[in-house]
Symmetry: C2
Subunit: 168 residues, 2 copies
């Protein structure tokens, strides 16, 4: 098996598992900056056009990312819930964000490159492959963060640069 593994690693790949992780965590670093940019009150209350406040979108991201990767790794389906116990404290949200960062990193290495096309039914509900699920996690985060940018602009606050994925 080790020879096969070695030969696998040497074969050209569009993206390596480690690169996909870095890509996602880079986006998560930027999303963290967007959370930080919101005044506390506006994070939990400000909205446009009847949409959710940014905090509720972040609850969704937190509910998907950590539990999603855990389910991918363990194969144990858990029911999806967007209830996040932060007690309307942005500090607590950021703590949960950082905890999720660690959880994703800890679980990621358990997803072998040969697993990404395995089919799963995430949260007992969403059918796809491990790859399509992770793509959804990332894309959904970019989508809602883009909405957070409009909220910030509407509040007269300059958002972080879209391409800045480095930690502050």
């Amino acid at each position: 098996m080790s020879t096969a593994t070695t030969s696998k690693e040497k074969v050209a790949q569009v993206i390596l598992p480690s690169e996909l992780l870095a890509h996602w965590q880079g986006h998560r670093t930027l999303t963290r900056k967007v959370i930080e940019a919101f005044p506390d009150k506006d994070f939990f209350e400000f909205s446009i056009g009847g949409m959710r406040p940014f905090s509720k979108m972040v609850d969704e991201l937190l509910s998907i990312a950590g539990p999603g990767i855990q389910e991918i790794v363990t194969g144990k389906a858990v029911a999806f819930t967007e209830e996040v116990a932060h007690g309307n404290s942005k500090t607590k949200v950021l703590e949960l964000w950082d905890k999720t960062t660690e959880d994703i990193n800890a679980n990621w290495s358990k997803i072998g490159v040969e697993k990404f096309h395995d089919t799963i039914k995430l949260f007992g509900e969403y059918e796809g492959t491990i790859l399509s699920s992770i793509q959804y996690f990332i894309d959904n985060e970019i989508h809602h963060r883009g909405q957070g940018y409009v909220y910030l602009r509407s509040l007269g606050i300059e958002p972080p640069m879209f391409y800045d994925r480095t930690e502050a």
Copy 2:
């Protein structure tokens, strides 16, 4: 070479070039629906918080996608311009969108799987790999389209479902 190619294809990959293309075109199909959802006047004029109208964001997407892939395939740098000749006609924008869809498809097969980690300086300015450039194209589109969703909601218009990437 054909044996090597065959063995390559059989090796486990996170994502195949053809899958990355389908992922991007799926997103582009959704963005097309968002363009269609805007009333003509609002597409070119409506904005929030001093941001660009959605048409200007779409100009940016059109300026990046087709020319970007062409530069990736030909290696010939072209200066970046966001001037798109649509004469403030949404019909013309949609025509250019569909032309870009064809251009991307036509060029994509010329990017071999072994090319994605090659470094490039896109539009003579943006350094990265072919992979990171294409990831930027996709992510930037999701980001701005998410902003378009807020514009639509603010206009009282229901946007298309985020997960619906199929053609109408």
